[in-house]
């Protein structure tokens, strides 16, 4: 700022002319124009305003969700219907809005089941593919695979959904289920896994590439086979960053609505349906019972409910829950990232 530097310093005459040869007769004034200084001060406010806008948006969404969600439990403005208790909503598996039952456990369980399954498939695949790209593949393949992974991350989820709906579902139904519908956790998790694998692969590749080459050399110089070196040295050394990669993948999976909604079957009563089934293959039944998750239920029902009704407010409470889960995951990623530096 100009008040810190007295103008006299800038304007002070230089040392006597005989001090050096070939000096400028008149040095330029090296001062910013008034407009420049004004713009400098203005910049600060523009940057601050943009930051506040982003923070405000995030905070605003949280506030909106919290208010509408709370209206389900508290008689307040925005609630024109009956009040539900906390217990009836969060600890009940009975979802029957027409009859006044708003237990959201099926959706919470559905979300965790489908994302957990997806991660079970995607995490090992992604980590091993990352090792392959970073440490085993020849350079041309490394470049190619990195570009492919970056492309895959950018594919809109609805495209995966269409693919699942029109290709995978009929295929699985035909091959395994005697042409019975195949919608449910199995196919949803598979589609989700395909969606999050590129993210995990990209981050895992970065993690392995950032390891010093001396670790690999050191272990192979002791007589490790390539596999031993990967398994015993590289993966443990990259563990914090690999966990971060998986948590980020999980975050993406939990928030995904479109693709899952298209293949999961959208059945809020899935827990009931599974209890009633009496066949001998509980695993298959679990994988192929039409089900629902927090996100799919929101996509499905939010447009069809009246504002202010308990039903509508409970859906907002579900949105709030989803928001909080995602926040927790992001915080967990931060925590993991910090561990690495320690």
């Amino acid at each position: 700022m100009d008040d810190l530097l007295p103008a006299t310093t800038l304007d002070a005459p230089g040392p006597p002319a005989q001090a050096g040869p070939a000096r400028l007769r008149t040095a330029p004034l090296f001062r910013h124009s008034r407009l420049n200084r004004l713009a400098d001060r203005g910049t600060r406010f523009v940057l601050l305003a943009c930051t506040l806008l982003v923070v405000g948006l995030i905070g605003g969404i949280l506030y909106f969700l919290a208010i509408r969600g709370a209206a389900a439990f508290i008689p307040m403005a925005g609630n024109t219907d009956k009040v539900a208790t906390f217990r009836q909503v969060f600890l009940s598996t009975n979802w029957d809005p027409g009859d006044g039952h708003f237990g959201i456990l099926p959706f919470v369980a559905g979300t965790f089941a489908v994302t957990g399954l997806a991660l079970l498939i995607a995490a090992p695949t992604g980590v091993l593919a990352g090792v392959f790209i970073a440490k085993v593949a020849p350079p041309w393949m490394r470049t190619l695979m990195r570009q492919v992974m970056d492309l895959l991350v950018g594919i809109p989820s609805v495209v995966y959904g269409i693919f699942g709906l029109t290709v995978i579902l009929p295929l699985v139904g035909h091959a395994w289920l005697a042409d019975a519908p195949a919608a449910g956790f199995g196919v949803s998790a598979a589609i989700l896994a395909v969606m999050i694998v590129p993210t995990i692969v990209s981050l895992a590749t970065d993690a392995f590439e950032s390891l010093p080459a001396s670790l690999d050399e050191g272990s192979q110089a002791l007589g490790s086979t390539r596999w031993q070196s990967i398994w015993r040295v590289l993966i443990p050394a990259a563990r914090p960053r690999l966990l971060t990669a998986c948590v980020l993948g999980l975050g993406r999976a939990i928030g995904e609505a479109m693709a899952v909604q298209m293949v999961i079957g959208n059945n809020p009563q899935w827990i009931l349906l599974m209890r009633q089934a009496t066949d001998q293959t509980p695993v298959l039944r679990f994988l192929f019972t039409p089900a629902a998750t927090l996100t799919t239920e929101l996509v499905q029902e939010l447009p069809n409910t009246a504002a202010g009704s308990t039903w509508n407010n409970v859906l907002f409470a579900m949105g709030l829950l989803l928001y909080l889960i995602t926040m927790l995951l992001i915080l967990a990623t931060r925590r993991l990232g910090r561990q690495e530096h320690a």
Partner: protein
Amino acid sequence: MLNPQIPETKPVKLAVRGMNFWYGEKKILHDLSMDIHAERATAIIGPSGCGKSTFLKCFNRIHEVSSQVRVTGDMLMDGVDINRGGIDQVDLRRRVGMVFQKPNPFPRSIYENVAFGPRLFGVRDRATLDDLVEDALRKAALWDEVKDRLKDSATGMSGGQQQRLCIARALAVHPEVLLMDEPCSALDPIATSKIEELIFELKDSLTIVIVTHNMQQAARVSDYTAFFWLGKMVEMDLTERIFTTPRERMTEDYITGRFG
């Protein structure tokens, strides 16, 4: 240092004959031949880029981990060709240990670093592992410093301790040859002198080949010295002769600091 008047009594451990080496298309080493005796320390000196580290790494073929390389000529260990004699790379590296320029301990405990090698070869028994770890750490003159904190992370040690840990790690699988690629270049003078003492003791039981930039170090620790220049071996002889009466003018110039 060996006395030139007394004839060599130790057998040849590594024999190199007419060896050439390429990195991809680029030829790095030209027609090298030398004998390396068991239970002796052989130093390789020469200016940067003369191929001395490359040559060293050929003895355990660690290049092949990350690069496309080609070797012609013979490299015999106990009379068996290490490139073509049907020796498995992994087995070769167990027998020919290596210590790198920069200490590279694994990010684990001190104990796990030393036990790493034996575990690779299926040693699971706790008592055996304990013995191997203690033995290797004693040989590397590190036991007294770390015996009370074997569970501590290796990355928290000083640079000199880390390098001795890497030596212990290499010794734990009982190698026959120990390759050292400028093992002291990242260390302070005190840590360096400890490593040099160690080399002196270790060569009673194994063959040591050490690449070094530091001519005083070569003179202090080695029995034989080879001088490399531009991928060729100019001269190899007993260290005492190389440093007092070299046959080649170029060797003398390098040793006296006239180039390099």
